[in-house]
């Protein structure tokens, strides 16, 4: 069947497709000129919704220039269950690597935040919905263990639909694994700051994301355990306005604060200087 195999390198070579000039806001549904959003740190100028950004953009936003050093860069997902739905997991991974700007849903490593050394873990929703499988779990625990060993603050930025179904029970176990990492890190008495971005659900929210000593959310982010559609189908009634938004979580005492992206770096730096160290 060799004749059937096309040369993938040639046929799938990525051309630089000009991105659409307009973009629709997830929150207010307005159609906005993309440049206007990009100039504004990808914040909707109409309603203040914070668009999802890539791990690289996030690191640029938070880390002092040139200070971030990625760890676990070589870790790649395999297909432990030979999972096949309407598509092979292997193919989904390949697509995700091609379509997103990253090779996995998590990027981790040490960085300086306004001069404060810390360890960063950033999820990227564009890679399979930021879902947590073996690699995300491993990168998280590597980061947390490094922070524990070097007694440095730990910062995680979540944006994820939850566990990566295609890794089955192994993805579920990453919840335990990442929580185990935090249970050890907490003994360092260094701060663990968890930032919740749109969206943070399921296996990620029910593990490391909700375990922050201090929890920050970006405005209007959707955050919860079960997805809104699952809840609607279960209780057979409409969900109240604003349900599972960052504002809803703040009101219910589940997070410490909502912080605009423009002030996020300064807020994290402040929290580190107020809580880390023995002065």
């Amino acid at each position: 069947m060799a004749w059937f195999k096309k040369d993938k390198d040639i046929t799938s070579k990525r051309v630089n497709v000009p991105e659409g000039l307009w973009v629709k806001c997830n929150s207010c549904k307005e159609i906005i000129y993309r440049q206007e959003v990009d100039k504004n740190l990808k914040i909707c100028p109409k309603c203040n919704y914070h668009f999802r950004i890539s791990a690289n953009e996030r690191i640029t936003l938070l880390a002092d220039e040139g200070s971030f050093v990625e760890i676990g860069i070589d870790l790649a997902s395999v297909d432990p269950l030979n999972f096949k739905d309407q598509k092979l997991y292997k193919d989904r991974l390949k697509d995700a690597r091609e379509k997103s700007n990253t090779n996995e849903a998590a990027t981790a490593g040490p960085a300086l935040i306004n001069g404060h050394p810390a360890i960063l873990v950033v999820l990227d929703f564009s890679f399979m919905g930021g879902s947590m499988g073996s690699v995300v779990g491993e990168k998280f625990i590597m980061a947390a263990e490094k922070a524990t060993k070097e007694k440095l603050p730990l910062i995680s930025i979540a944006s994820s639909g939850g566990a990566r179904m295609q890794e089955g029970i192994i993805s579920l176990m990453q919840m335990a694994k990442t929580s185990a990492a935090i249970s050890r890190f907490k003994k360092t008495k260094m701060p663990y700051i968890s930032v919740l971005c749109d969206p943070t659900f399921g296996g990620v929210s029910a593990s490391f994301a909700m375990l922050g000593d201090m929890i920050i959310a970006e405005p209007k982010s959707l955050i919860g355990f079960a997805g809104p559609r699952v809840i609607e189908q279960t209780i057979k009634q409409q969900l109240p306005d604003g349900f599972q938004t960052a504002e809803f979580l703040l009101q219910h005492g589940m997070i410490d604060m909502i912080v605009n992206r423009k002030e996020l770096k300064q807020t994290i730096a402040n929290l580190i200087s107020l809580t880390a160290g023995n002065k």
Binding site: L75, V78, K84, V135, G137, A176, A180, M210, P240
Partner: protein, 328 residues
């Protein structure tokens, strides 16, 4: 009358016939008695044959069987002097989780488990074994008591999942589950977790961080239910998913006890009587009792530091990945 699953129908017919013959014979007619013996052997062979080739989706049905023994059945069959403790001291008491202390073979232990409830009324009261945050917080409270009093913890897992509802979200379902996961890694007492029926995702895992994790033969343990998985991954445009897709999803998820042993997620499979745990609750409880006793003995030999180190590493190593050199 037993409750029969779809794929047990051939055996159901035979067994109903046996019952009928028994009523007729009244123990006197020797011909009928021989006939009954013959039919009983046939039924056993037929059942063994059916059960030798059940699919993961069929196993899911057995794990959810309405007559399957629940946490309170095991407590009654295996322990003495059970004292149930109620409430999370923060909001309320969640009947979907049962927690307390009991005397297990002369050893005082904490027992915590999901409870599904039998019959419509109790099922609704116990929310079909789907806990709210207060259930997980009660569980953690009792686990911390066990640590304080130096008693081993036995958890029995049997839930479709943590409840997806408005109040559950308002009261922090995610936080409650996450806190249990984190805290269980620091509890200085042995923890033995047993999946007795349905191990439904995070809502199951929140009680299943153990030094030993075991599954009953026909229990299932998965990141998502076959129905939930099929609805997401097998849905095409407007087509409805059904039994065919559930079969595929259950197969793909690798959620049976044999799969999990194979993947190195669990330590041991506890065998069930032919046809499933509900066919003989006593026999099933005895099998569990033996495994628990052996595990408690083994774990009590270890220092708490050893225990925590091993518990950490047990979960630390779970994951399959490869190292691929990245082009700069």
């Amino acid at each position: 009358m037993h409750y029969y699953l779809d794929f047990e129908k051939p055996v159901a017919e035979l067994e109903n016939k046996i019952e009928e013959l028994r009523r007729l014979a009244d123990g006197k007619d020797m011909n009928i008695t021989t006939e009954i013996k013959k039919l009983e052997n046939k039924a056993r062979d037929l059942r063994a044959d059916i059960f030798s080739k059940i699919t993961p989706w069929q196993k899911t049905q057995i794990a959810r069987h309405p007559e399957r023994p629940y946490t309170l059945d095991y407590i009654e069959l295996m322990t003495k002097d059970f004292v149930e403790l109620h409430g999370d001291r923060k909001f309320s008491d969640d009947p979907a989780i049962v927690a307390g202390f009991a005397n297990f073979q002369g050893i005082p232990v904490a027992i915590i488990g999901h409870q599904k409830g039998r019959g419509t009324k109790e099922r609704i009261e116990r929310n079909f074994g789907q806990p709210h945050p207060e259930g997980y917080r009660k569980a953690l409270r009792v686990m911390k008591l066990a640590e304080k009093f130096g008693k081993p913890i036995i958890t029995l897992i049997d839930t479709p999942g943590a409840y997806p509802g408005i109040e559950a979200e308002e009261r922090g379902q995610s936080e409650a589950i996450a806190s249990n996961l984190m805290e269980m890694f620091q509890l200085r007492t042995p923890i033995i977790a047993v999946i007795i029926g349905e191990g439904g995702s995070g809502g199951a895992l929140a009680l299943a961080v153990g030094d030993k994790v075991m599954m009953f033969e026909h229990s299932v343990y998965s990141v998502i239910s076959p129905e939930g998985c099929a609805a997401i991954l097998w849905k095409k445009n407007n087509s409805q998913v059904g039994k065919g897709e559930y079969e595929k999803a259950a197969e793909a998820l690798k959620m049976t006890s044999a799969d999990l042993l194979n993947l190195g997620i669990i330590d041991e499979i506890i065998p069930e009587p032919l046809g499933g745990a509900h066919r003989s609750k006593e026999e099933t409880a005895e099998a569990l009792e033996a495994v628990l006793l052996r595990s408690i003995d083994e774990l009590r030999e270890k220092s708490f530091d050893e225990l925590l180190e091993e518990r950490y590493n047990k979960f630390r190593i779970i994951g399959k990945l490869e190292e691929v050199e990245q082009q700069p």
